[in-house]
Assembly symmetry: C2
Homo-oligomer: 80 residues x 2
């Protein structure tokens, strides 16, 4: 079973990486980009086949390592 | 209109960051993680309201800056 974890900065947390991308896009001539936020995508290939157990396990991984829950949100998508 | 761009490494391209995460998960006692790949999520807030034009513009941004198409794939999701 595969899991996709999206880790994004909470609203209000400064995102210098996103600002750099926004600035670079504007330098390249792309107008009308009002805001850019950058996050992480983590794709996990799990041996677990039970969706409920897999989700619990990925939740624990997010809290322990994948996301800094003080400043980041995470969402989990299980695939097949 | 908002756009979510997911940038992932092409299959076959080494992913040391993903391997580091996999190793760290295993050190923390999470068993059964067969593979980890790490990618990027870029959320764009666009002034454009026409979905077709917005997609074309984000495609151009991906090719010009957001993804290295030699080693990375990208996918675009438009939201409202």
């Amino acid at each position: 079973m595969k899991a996709k974890v999206l880790v994004t900065l909470k609203t209000g947390v400064l995102d210098p990486q996103g600002k750099a991308v926004q600035h670079a896009l504007s330098s390249l001539g792309f107008a009308g980009v009002d805001d850019v936020r950058q996050g992480k995508l983590i794709e996990l290939d799990l041996a677990e086949t039970d969706p409920a157990k897999a989700r619990d396990s990925v939740e624990a991984m997010c809290r322990a390592l994948l996301a800094n829950t003080v400043i980041e949100n995470y969402s989990i998508d299980l695939v097949d």
